[in-house]
Amino acid sequence: MNTNAAPELDIDDSAELPKPRTGMIRIYAIPLIGFAVIAVAFAIGLTMDPREIPSVLIGKKVPEFSLSAVQGRTLGLSDTDLRGEVSLVNVFASWCTACRQEHPLLMDLAKRNIVPIHGLNYKDKPDDAQEWLDGLGDPYTRTGADINGRVAIDWGVYGVPETFVVDKEGRIAYKQIGAITQKILDEKILPFVKRLQNEGDAK
């Protein structure tokens, strides 16, 4: 039976029976903890909208541009028009369904005379844009017809509708991607506008 003997080992006859190892429990806990961390990270990720990419232009001056007004309107839009008062710049297009959805809110906001809204008409046919404003109502103080979409690219626009809050110095303070809702208007955009309006008065 000696042929079955174990290979040469440093055998310690006095060794106690191995104690239950708490270390093992710790090792088995590692994948579990790893899973928990990943699960929490994914759960947080699921609540975020991957289509919303934070703008790099926040805090920066609006890009230089000068656009003539939408067909049938007189006041065009340029970067110099966005200085001196807090304003909203709404990027819209007649072919954009979400714009139709937010349009009544813009009309309502315009009536309340809190803040001027300027319209950046993105890649629209002049006739379609005019028809839109004539038919649905015109909430805009000034409009700019960005027919080839180049100015919108300078603004970092990647989907319509988008709405920018511009401060008195002509800097972009906030950007809303997607259609405005009453909730977004009341809880985000208007508080922003009021704060920026008060900021200047305090100086």
Partner: protein
């Protein structure tokens, strides 16, 4: 027949992967510039579709950006200047390959860190196993007797 089918299929695969979404009217006459434009476009994310480059996407914005890239190149911009121009407007997210900087440190080094941690656990596990063998004790007389008995039965 079989060969013809394989040839046709591989041609299909090849052409679809080469074509992109660039329309002939967008292309530059200068083939060197056009190639540079293609290479730059392949690294720029289409923000509408997000997981396609502007070279592959048929979205309107992708087309506008493709034309923009070509306009900048024609105006004499270097490749880096074109990329900087787009990043200044859309941020690092527009680059399909994220740049290596402080904000992306976890992204770049995370996998290495996890691999390192796994290696550490693995190493520990084996070292422990080795120690146990070293401190194994011999069988007691009782165990020896039981062992013999079992062996005899076999």
């Amino acid at each position: 027949m079989k060969k013809a089918i394989i040839a046709a299929l591989s041609l299909l695969v090849l052409t679809t992967s080469l074509a992109g979404a660039v329309e002939p009217s967008e292309m530059l006459k200068d083939s060197v510039l056009e190639q540079r434009a293609r290479d730059i476009s392949k690294g720029l994310r289409c923000l509408v579709c997000q997981n396609q480059s502007i070279d592959e996407s048929n979205a309107g914005l992708a087309k506008d950006l493709r034309i923009l890239v070509r306009d900048r190149l024609s105006a004499g911009d270097s490749d880096q200047e074109v990329l900087d121009f787009v990043v200044a407007r859309y941020g690092d997210f527009v680059l399909l390959s994220p740049p290596f900087k402080l904000a992306t440190l976890a992204l770049w080094l995370g996998p290495l860190g996890i691999l390192g941690a796994a290696g550490l656990v693995y190493f520990n596990f084996f070292r422990r196993g080795f120690k146990e063998v070293k401190t194994a004790r011999a069988l007691s007389q009782e165990e020896e007797a039981r062992f013999e008995k079992i062996i005899d039965q076999v």
